[in-house]
């Protein structure tokens, strides 16, 4: 890279990685208390924030400091005492940096949970030990697996209120495990905690000697996420073509790079690749990373590829391997979550679809069923999907999209739907099949 942008070797010795996790649950489950404790114990709550929250709590005559006020940032949320939207919170330990997508747990906020889960490496579902598995616990587990969040933690909270009783814990574990067997759960961990008293949150609890697993924070710090990405199937959606047009610099004059964020696989200079939609093959000559040339690129790196042959490539195209290509499809089957109160999704609805870097028009051909997110019952008589409802649809798209099944790759299997009249994002889809 040019000398003006030469980066230094990091003076910082730490090589933290990043874990994004979503939390689901209501205030009643102790979710805010748990997040408050994680933030507090990692020194990520500041004194002025705490003072402000304490003052507001006192002003409202609340008995305890309401840590939900830390995350409920909007006036309407504080006035109504509810969480309306996904709140993002940040904390770090010496091992990892964490981004929490804190989502409200009620059914009317399903779209918020879907949004928070879409980028999460891990989800925490809170269960009140006194109440056991509720309808909402099942819903949260289902949404977590629908969005293919790779790791699921069931935190069985308020163990202090059931005398730290192992039998209570075991009963909930058994019940949840039985239910989870119907879902595609890849990694399931149970942790008995008391968010209020800190048992098994940061440190192992002395009150539950029968529990031999790790504390929640220890689990968050150590859960192995490197293998969650697809490092097999090379997928490079072309985002932007870089052409410097610098007539003064002969070296740059012929520079033509294809910029994008790797969505799957590992790319290396010398690799033979195929361009879609043309089907022409060529070879990667250089990969330019943010800090200069790199000898390999993988998700989620943003890089620029230079190719051996002059092919007409533009935004929305895809680069893959000649013998491992995504499906070029105009007919898609997908699970969708409908996200707008303004209109109902029905067959014949026309929408805009955005998938990787390609945008096209789409027609809803069929609604196969609406899913009851609490019971998983499929209603194949349903005529439409309303706000927060989930169902399976078929779409016809005006031009081919280069797709994989969502359970193979979240980035090439996910899409959003946009209403052409309002320009709002009205749906999110997970591809289950393509032709």
């Amino acid at each position: 890279m040019a000398s003006t942008i030469e980066p230094a070797e990091s003076a910082s010795a730490k090589t933290m990685d990043l874990l994004r996790f979503a939390t689901a649950g209501s205030v009643d489950d102790g979710k805010s208390t748990l997040i408050g404790r994680l933030l507090f114990d990692s020194k990520s709550i500041f004194e002025d924030q705490l003072e402000s929250v304490e003052k507001t709590s006192v002003d409202r005559g609340e008995e305890y400091t309401n840590l939900a006020l830390l995350t409920d940032g909007l006036r309407a949320e504080r006035e109504q005492g509810i969480t309306i939207d996904v709140a993002y919170r940040y904390f770090a330990t010496p091992r990892r940096k964490f981004i929490i997508a804190d989502t409200p747990g009620h059914i009317q906020y399903t779209r918020n949970m879907v949004t928070g889960a879409s980028t999460a490496d891990l989800a925490i579902i809170l269960v009140d030990a006194r109440k056991g598995i509720l309808e909402q616990s099942r819903r949260h587990a289902f949404l977590t697996t629908l969005l293919q969040v790779p790791h699921l933690v069931v935190a069985i909270n308020k163990m202090d209120l059931v005398d730290y009783d192992q039998a209570v814990y075991e009963r909930i574990v058994d019940e949840f495990t039985a239910f989870a067997s119907k879902l595609e759960v890849t990694d399931l961990t149970f942790i008995p905690i008391s968010a209020l008293h800190g048992d098994n949150v940061v440190e192992r609890s002395v009150n539950m000697p029968w529990y031999d697993g790790s504390s929640l924070l220890h689990h968050l710090e150590h859960v192995h996420i490197a293998s969650d990405r697809n490092l097999i199937d090379v997928r490079f959606p072309v985002q932007y073509v870089i052409r410097p047009h610098a007539s003064t610099d002969p070296e740059l004059h012929d520079y033509r790079g294809y910029a994008g964020q790797v969505a799957g696989g590992v790319l290396k200079p010398g690799d033979e690749v195929v361009h879609l939609p043309s089907g022409l093959t060529t070879t990667i000559t250089h990969i330019d990373g943010p800090n200069g040339p790199v000898d390999e690129a993988y998700a989620p790196m943003s890089v620029t590829l230079r190719l051996a042959d002059d092919i007409d490539i533009s935004r929305g195209d895809m680069i893959a391997r000649p013998h491992n290509r995504p499906e070029a499809a105009q007919d898609l089957d997908a699970m969708v979550c409908w996200m707008t109160p303004d209109r109902v999704l029905t067959p014949r609805t026309k929408l805009v679809i955005k998938h990787t870097t390609r945008t096209a028009k789409a027609l809803v051909k069929d609604l196969h069923y609406r899913l009851d997110v609490n019971t998983l019952h499929r209603d194949d008589q349903a005529e439409g999907l309303g706000l927060n409802e989930i169902g399976r649809i078929s779409l016809r798209v005006t031009q081919p999209l280069f797709v994989d099944d969502y359970n193979r790759n979240r980035l090439t299997g996910g899409f959003i739907l946009i209403d052409e009249a309002t320009n709002n994002t009205v749906g999110a889809g997970m591809i289950t099949g393509a032709r």
Binding site: I5, D17, D48, G73, L74, A76, L231, K354
Partner: protein
Amino acid sequence: MQRCDYLLSQLDVLEAESIHIFREVAAEFERPVLLFSGGKDSIVMLRLAQKAFWPAPIPFPVMHVDTGHNFPEVMEYRDRRVAELGVRLVVASVQDAIDSGRVVEQKGRRASRNRLQITPLLDAIEEHGFDAAFGGARRDEEKARAKERVVSFRDEFGQWDPKNQRPELWNLFNTRITQGEHVRVFPLSNWTELDIWDYVRREELELPPIYFAHTRRVFERDGLLLDAETGFANRGDDEPEFEASVRYRTVGDASCTGAVKSNAATLEEVIAEIAATRITERGQTRADDRTSEAAMEDRKKEGYF
């Protein structure tokens, strides 16, 4: 970058995400602009923009909303950095807006031009036809900003409607708008204050000197140490000035940005202090957020950064 196990550090992941956002917006909008104040966040943003399009130049201009109440060191830095990069600088002037009667200067000792920035900012966006404005706001800064989208829609009046925001899933951003509307784009949404400082260190980015400890004449008001040298903070006779070793943790309008007592003269020392502090940067240094619990939300709804 670590290569053995395909792991990336948190700074590499954040950098990749920000670059993705820059490219997406440059590809999908006609006339983006980058809001540049000369503060640390916009300095990091400018570096990320440079990387996103390298070896091509940054394909959009930068805009400074000039309150006229600037620290001279920051203005000197701004002009030098812009010249180095060869980008076009657009200045939206609060003074011009006052002179032409579009906004009215606040009165009294606590008069600040902070809120007055909204009008020239929106006017400049309209005048130049900008349809996307990159801002350096971070979600960890402030609770209203924690609810902000990466690509955040603004209606034809430049207003933000926090209760009616577009969901953002995966790395897909809805960039559709109609004539007269625009978006604000926040590539640093997921960065924390410490990430910014770590990145400044990693990239060896130059910052304006006021970020490091220096001797300055200051005075105290409402628990903030305000500058007594530029004269913008309207120091009263009952507010004695004194000399102190200070640094700035944020850089804003000199009339409402407080300094922090500090002897940290090097980047390492500053980072050590920030890692240990128990007070947020806006809580410690910004008078503009203290007017009410929803001060930022209210300003943002009107079109503020």
